[in-house]
């Protein structure tokens, strides 16, 4: 910018928080004669309404075009002063905040002189950077009020219906012939004893009649481009490719049950089945008898932690995680069994019973009803063999009875297999979703952004993200519905303008920037005059991370708001001698 800048500098006392350790007036004096500084003042509390009003007045009277406030951390008041600048009719990005509290006065309480010098350097740096600010505009993206949901299990079905209620259009993809996932195969589920099959049937019926939801079965997502709020995707449905334009994508691809190795926990013996298989038996049984292989079942032994909480020393690629649902699901299946035939003996071989929260009441009901819980040590796991009578004989050391060796014979052994991630190679290729150590999709942050991924506008939910029970799956699915709503319901999103820009004259397209960008924000295009190929930054995808800047051999890339020139002049100003 060629024109001489008119910068206002305001140094804050913070009621002693700064001024007790930094000579605030000396900082002001040092800055007063700095090139480009028109106004240099101090305030007891710069953030107070009164001080803000004084600054607004001065911006007008002195015709200021850049503001520096030296006060606390920008985390506290960056937003405050950007708003103040806007109210004064100034572009909010011509405002800079310099932190002389957390990073100076509070840190150097023992040395007022040095703290004051540091403050002067910091504020000078802020002024130098501000002198090179340009008015920037937020990047506004018009969003499309449509959501693509991949996976029509319980989570995907519920998410679709709520999105439709919210007035958004939904495309629901299911790779199988029928929607409903695992739950449609199950009868009574914990904790409310609702039948999975019936609930799913109701949801599917609603989906089919909804005008806002299009359900595609035998469908796959094969291509995605564009950015948050405005994705172009292609799906393949029974050989046909359909293009769709959506604002957000929710991935609810679910889990698969742990697959046992031969002999693992007696797998392969007659009478040893998995929990999902047992649920199908319960589902198929009548109201008064439990039949397996044509014979009435007299005893059932549940074995917990099968395929979960595996130990490094026992497996090559162990599933270290707990599958969360299996303790309660096993206990609940036991209670359902008792409901069918109370005379059936029930045993649970467990490590820790994780009937968390209210599920503890089910555990209590199971114990009070006579189910026996035996705790095994993973160092000496139970041993299974086929007895001559066709039943399964189990040897187990029970820690609850002082490590007594017990022998049981049981008609059925139900292995509470954990949840493992699906291998969705094709989908992962299209969406480029990060996968965690446990093999499930990974959110950005379990607390700050629990359903968001590093790919803006693509959300994950349900058991694709990690083991969950039904209510928890739906809860996370609806949380991703909320996030989609936040993105799409206003019709636009505003992003901060701190993104990379390419100097087309300098760029020679070597491709290094494209390689290093973790967000896939850079692509090759032909320059306007057709003379060469250059890099193009998709502003909506760029996060201003800046990794592309140092790798560019031509120095053709800058980050808006943090240009090379700004940073070097900031450093120069900071190292200038303080007299």
């Amino acid at each position: 910018m060629s024109k001489e800048r008119r910068i206002g500098v305001y140094v804050c006392y913070c009621g002693g928080n700064i001024s007790d350790y930094v000579d605030v007036e000396a900082v002001r004096d040092a800055l007063e004669n700095e090139d480009g500084v028109v106004v240099a003042k101090t305030h007891m509390f710069t953030c107070s309404d009164a001080s803000q009003q004084l600054m607004i007045d001065e911006i007008g009277e002195e015709n200021l075009d850049g503001i520096v406030v030296a006060s606390c951390s920008p985390k506290l008041h960056l937003h405050t002063f950007r708003e103040m600048a806007k109210r004064a009719g100034l572009n909010e990005y011509t405002y800079s905040q310099v932190n002389i509290r957390e990073q100076d006065s509070w840190t150097h309480r023992h040395d007022v002189e040095a703290a004051t010098e540091k403050a002067i350097r910091l504020v000078r740096g802020g002024v130098a950077k501000t002198k090179l600010t340009a008015p920037l505009k937020n990047i506004r993206i018009e969003t499309k009020p449509r959501v693509l949901i991949v996976g029509a299990g319980a989570a995907g079905l519920r998410a679709s219906l709520v999105l439709a209620d919210m007035g958004l259009t939904v495309y629901l993809l299911e790779k199988e012939d029928e929607p409903g996932g695992w739950v449609k195969k199950w009868g009574k589920m914990f904790p409310n004893n609702k039948r999975g099959d019936e609930s799913i049937a109701k949801l599917v019926a609603k989906i089919r009649t909804s005008e806002s939801i299009t359900l595609y079965t035998n469908a796959r997502l094969i291509e995605k481009s564009g950015s948050l709020g405005d994705f172009e995707v292609k799906i393949e449905v029974k050989g046909e490719t359909i293009p769709l334009n959506v604002g957000a994508i929710i991935v609810t691809t679910g889990f698969k049950p742990y697959e046992l190795a031969q002999d693992e926990f007696g797998h392969g013996l007659n009478g040893v089945i998995t929990l999902p298989e047992y649920k199908e038996i319960l589902f198929a049984s009548g109201e008064d008898k439990l039949i397996h292989n044509g014979k009435p079942v007299k005893s059932v032994t549940f074995v917990h932690c099968v395929g979960s909480r595996q130990r490094q020393e026992d497996y090559d690629k162990p599933n270290l995680y707990c599958s969360r649902y299996c303790c309660t699901a096993s206990i609940h299946s036991g209670l359902t069994t008792r409901g069918i035939d109370p005379s059936i003996h029930q045993y649970h071989l467990f490590r820790d019973i994780r009937s968390y929260g209210r599920y503890e009441l089910l555990y209590e009901e199971a114990r009070n009803g006579g189910s026996l819980f035996l705790r095994y040590d993973p160092d000496s796991p139970p041993i299974f063999e086929q007895a001559k009578n066709g039943r399964v004989r189990i040897q187990v050391k029970d820690q609850l009875t002082g490590n007594e060796e017990l022998e049981l014979e049981t008609d059925l052994v139900v292995l509470a297999t954990g949840m493992v991630p699906r291998e969705n190679d094709e989908l992962n290729n299209v969406l480029k979703l990060p996968i965690g150590l446990d093999g499930f999709y990974n959110e950005i942050h379990p607390k700050l952004r629990p359903v968001e991924t590093v790919v803006d506008g693509v959300f994950i939910a349900g058991t694709s993200q990690g083991p969950k029970n039904l209510a928890e799956s739906v809860s996370s699915a609806l949380a991703s519905v909320s996030k989609s709503g936040g993105l799409l319901m206003k019709g636009y999103v505003d992003l901060e303008p701190f993104v990379a820009i390419v100097d087309a004259d300098k760029c020679t397209w070597c491709g290094k920037c494209e390689e290093i960008c973790p967000y896939g924000a850079i692509e090759k295009i032909t320059a306007e005059d057709g003379s060469k190929e250059i890099a193009l930054i998709t502003k909506a995808v760029c996060k201003g991370g800046g990794t592309c800047v140092p790798v560019c051999p031509e120095g053709a890339i800058d980050i808006e708001g943090y240009t090379n020139e700004q940073i070097t002049s900031l450093i120069d100003a900071m190292i200038k001698e303080v007299v």
């Binding site: 319980a154 409310n192 609702k194 994780r354 942050h445 629990p450």
Partner: protein, 902 residues
């Protein structure tokens, strides 16, 4: 204002809901009962399983919530009720507690906190450390505004008829600020010296410490601060008010009431002239109270406080013509002539020369030329004045001073200490004797003829249960008799005003009880001449009141506003509740001269506390009402934001939907006495969170009992969870993994410490949790399966745990130097009662029921009402956030459907 949604509770679930709804474009009202949003999460150290700093995760959410353009946050506020409107929307009534700080003006600088003189246990540090009454809840609070904690007025301040902030000056003396303490007193009453000697201290009667070892010596503390100040400042530090008013005020009478009125009017800039018919100012203070109780130089110094303002005192000036005063240019008149008319009993022979009324007697005793009283003096009466008379008579040389009283000594209205001092000085008490007449003896002397009485227990009124007079007659020979009977008392001399003003039948001037205005608008009257004989401090209170209304009158303002809108008195019961573990501190008695040293002179008998004694005494104060009104915050606040008169605010809003996010409370381990939760080295896990947090109270991991570094720490799991006896059969979901987290953090802080976790099952079920638990185990944390049955104190502040070792068998004991109780969660109560006329369904444990848990997490039994987070079940933070997201989606769907249907 109308909103799309009301969110009740500003914890992590409430904030997440608010942000989700705000982002979707809905107008959100978030109501939080605490002064900051953020709930409990922001108080944690780090959070599992990622070990991020809890504040670093919470504060951005708190700031985004507070700054979001679609979200209005109301803190320190409670929902009073929610009612359903005919169209399905809701009317919400809110109650905002006063924080006594103008939050728009407050910049959160924390200066008030530095000057506040009252410390309380810091609830946000779970009582591990202290905070001030004026405080910012915690460093990351949003909004970062000060709050002043006022639980009502402390009983001492509340009971003072002059409105002197007793708690305030006690608190200032406690912190060594004696001159400030004096100046605080001067805000209300300008005669602190006199009060420190002669006030009957209703404050001490009300003092809550009196329910323990003995009342705080409030008057003794005042006396110390007054003597300290007067010693440093023989003259007042101020002169006349800077801005002078034009209108003039005349005050008749220079007693405590007149002087006080003059002082407050003088401070407001009015030219004031006091007229008094005596040669010296002070009224009863000078002429009635014996100088051995109130030395006259103290009174003289007190009076300077008034005259320094330019108040003129014209002595020897009798005012008999009120109209003339008006003609002389006085725009308002305050009559405070007291009740100085002696009253006799009306018995036979009382006209005898040597029978005196008490006022005349006491006045004569003040003269240079002391009256001759002879050897035998009889004082009739049992009140404080009677004691003063008797003790004065002893000092005038009477060998035998008799107090004759018609009831028992116990029934005497005089203060116990006055009776005791009189006895110590040799005064002879004749209880149950009534005087019937005065007879002249043959030798020209005098005797009192008396009858014995039989006393009955005192009922409500002294007169109604008068003693039964027997026929037994006695005669007491006497040189001087003084009648000092409180039941008769003294009357005001209001004769000169009879023509101008309405006078009551008991000779008092008729006034409006609030404004003290008489039947003539420009004339006010107060003190004893309006109330009848009373106390000094009452008279001072009247003077202050009169000044307030005279000022309003002269400014042309209405008089029908309240004089003194003070908070109600704090509930003593709540003080007792919180002071269960008060350290015993014996009260100090005011020092005084020995009886033998004092009985032959008029020297002041009581002494002044030393500085150390005064501070010790002040330190006994229990800070009943929390805020002492020492006004230090007002003086120090750079942005004038303190508003001690702030009132609760009520508001009404229309909302379309509600999310209940009221969260949880922690199980109170006091309900498990076998685990010794009262032992200083048995702490709750939440306290351990604070010890480990970035803003930790001790800046180190120390055990609270003795500040030693713990070396062998035990965690007791499932305290208040999975426990029918504790009323909570369910699992709290978070304790196992937060314990694994704390154990890891402790191992970082104290690498050599041993940590043992006593558990039933380790429930590390969430994403990454079991790996996190394994990590703790691999780091060397001992996990022992076994429930701890009881804990006993052991030597050196250590503790012995009794537990069953499940895996290895047997009942065992273990010694630890710090025990952490992993307390579980319980629901916040009172949620359902917010909804009037509608039933918000709760489960058997009082959590909000989710009626469609599997497919609509967050839906409640009421249309348009949703629940988020731990209000419906214990949840960890990620689950709470997801649940809040779910509730938000359902709310948005509900709102959109409503829009389409209307």
């Amino acid at each position: 204002m109308d909103y799309d949604i009301l969110i009740v509770g500003g914890g992590i679930a409430g904030m997440e809901s608010a942000l989700s709804m705000g982002e979707m474009g809905y107008k959100v009202l978030l109501v939080e009962k605490e002064p900051s949003i953020g709930g409990k999460m922001v108080l944690l150290s780090k959070v599992f399983p990622t070990l991020d700093c809890a504040s670093c995760i919470s504060t951005p959410k708190m700031a985004s919530t507070a700054h979001h353009s679609n979200v209005d946050v109301l803190v320190s506020s409670k929902v009073s009720e929610i009612t359903r409107n005919a169209d399905g929307s809701f009317t919400v009534r809110l109650h905002k507690k006063p924080t006594f700080v103008d939050s728009d003006a407050c910049t959160g600088c924390g200066e008030c906190e530095l000057t506040c003189t009252v410390a309380l246990p810091d609830e946000f540090n779970f009582d591990l450390t202290a905070r001030r009454v004026a405080h910012i809840p915690y460093p990351q609070a949003v909004p970062k505004k000060s709050v002043i904690d006022r639980q009502g007025l402390s009983p001492c301040s509340y009971s003072c008829p002059a409105g002197v902030k007793a708690h305030g000056y006690v608190s200032l003396v406690r912190s060594g600020q004696y001159e400030k303490a004096f100046r605080l007193h001067m805000e209300d009453a300008p005669l602190p010296g006199s009060l420190s000697r002669a006030c009957y201290s209703p404050c001490e009667e009300q003092c809550t410490r009196g329910d323990y070892e003995g009342t705080v010596a409030i008057r003794g503390i005042k006396r110390f601060m007054v003597d300290y100040y007067y010693d440093k400042h023989p003259e007042p530090e101020y002169g006349p008010a800077e801005v002078q008013q034009e209108k003039k005020v005349a005050i008749i009478g220079s007693g405590p009431s007149g002087l006080t009125a003059a002082y407050h009017l003088g401070r407001r800039g009015y030219p004031v002239t006091i007229f008094d018919n005596m040669p010296e100012a002070g009224g009863m203070l000078r002429h009635t109270i014996p100088s051995f109780r109130l030395p006259k130089d103290v009174l003289d110094r007190d009076i300077k406080n008034i005259t320094a303002l330019g108040v003129e005192i014209k002595t020897n000036s009798t005012i008999n013509d009120l109209g003339k005063l008006k003609d002389e240019g006085y725009d308002a008149i305050y009559i405070a002539v007291g009740a100085g008319m002696p009253q006799m009993m009306g018995i036979e022979g009382e006209g005898h020369l040597n029978v005196l009324d008490c006022l005349t007697f006491l006045k004569q005793a003040q003269d240079e030329e002391k009256p001759h009283v002879g050897r035998h003096v009889v004082v009739v009466g049992g009140g404080n004045v009677a004691m003063d008379v008797a003790r004065t008579a002893r000092r005038l040389g009477a060998e035998y001073v008799h107090i004759v009283y018609r009831r028992t000594v116990e029934q005497m209205p005089a203060h116990k200490w006055e009776i005791a001092e009189a006895k110590a000085e040799g005064v002879i008490f004749h209880p149950s004797v009534v005087i019937t007449r005065v007879i002249s003896t043959a030798d020209g002397g005098m005797a009192l003829e008396c009858n014995r009485t039989v006393s009955q227990p005192l009922s409500t009124s002294r007169q109604s249960s008068g003693p039964y007079v027997t026929d037994e007659t006695i005669a007491i020979p006497v040189d001087t008799a003084v009648l000092a009977i409180p039941a008769i008392g003294n009357k005001p001399n209001t004769v000169p005003f009879r023509n101008d003003l309405a006078i009551n039948s008991n000779s008092t001037i008729r006034v409006n009880n609030s404004s003290l205005q008489t039947s003539l608008p420009h004339i006010f009257a107060g003190g004893d001449c309006a109330t009848g004989a009373s106390t000094i401090v009452e008279a001072i209170g009247q003077g202050k009141r009169a000044a307030f209304y005279i000022d309003r009158y002269l400014q042309g303002d209405k008089l029908n506003i309240a004089f003194d809108e003070r908070l109600p008195m704090t509930d003593k019961h709540s003080v007792h509740e919180r002071e269960r573990r008060v350290t015993e501190l014996e009260p100090l008695i005011d020092p005084e001269l020995d009886a033998t040293e004092r009985v032959d002179n008029f020297d002041e008998i009581a002494g002044t506390f030393t500085e150390e004694q005064a501070r010790y005494s002040a330190n006994r104060c229990l800070d009943c009402g929390y805020c002492s009104e020492c006004n230090e915050c007002i003086a120090t606040c750079p942005s004038d934001a303190i508003r001690l008169d702030q009132k609760a605010e009520k508001s009404v809003h229309k909302v379309e939907s509600v999310i209940v996010a009221t969260g949880f409370k922690l199980f109170d381990p006091a309900k498990k006495p076998a685990l010794r939760p009262d032992h200083p080295n048995v702490i709750s896990a939440m306290q351990m969170e604070r010890l480990l947090s970035p803003t930790r109270p001790y800046n180190n991991l120390l055990r609270p009992g003795d500040g030693r570094r713990p070396d062998n720490i035990a965690y007791v799991m499932c305290v208040g969870s999975r426990d029918h006896a504790a009323g909570n059969p369910i699992c709290s979901r978070i304790c196992c993994v937060y314990t694994a987290k704390q154990a890891q953090l402790i191992m970082g802080a104290l690498p050599l410490a041993d940590i043992t976790v006593y558990y039933i099952d380790i429930r590390a079920f969430g994403k990454g949790y079991d790996e996190f638990y394994q990590q703790a185990s691999d780091m060397g944390v001992y996990f022992t399966k076994g429930r701890v049955a009881k804990i006993d104190p052991a030597a050196d502040g250590n503790l012995t745990l009794h537990y069953e070792d499940i895996v290895h068998g047997g009942i065992k004991t273990a010694n630890h130097d710090l025990v952490v109780l992993a307390t579980g969660l319980q629901p916040e109560m009172g949620v359902a009662s917010l909804f009037r006329d509608e039933n918000l369904e709760l489960d058997e444990l009082f959590y909000v029921s989710e009626t469609e848990l599997d497919y609509s997490p967050g839906q409640t039994s009421l249309d348009g009402v949703f629940v988020a987070g731990t209000a419906s079940e214990p949840r960890d933070i990620p689950d709470s956030i997801l649940h809040a997201g779910s509730a938000s989606a359902l709310t948005a769907a509900y709102l959109e459907k409503r829009k389409r249907n209307t």
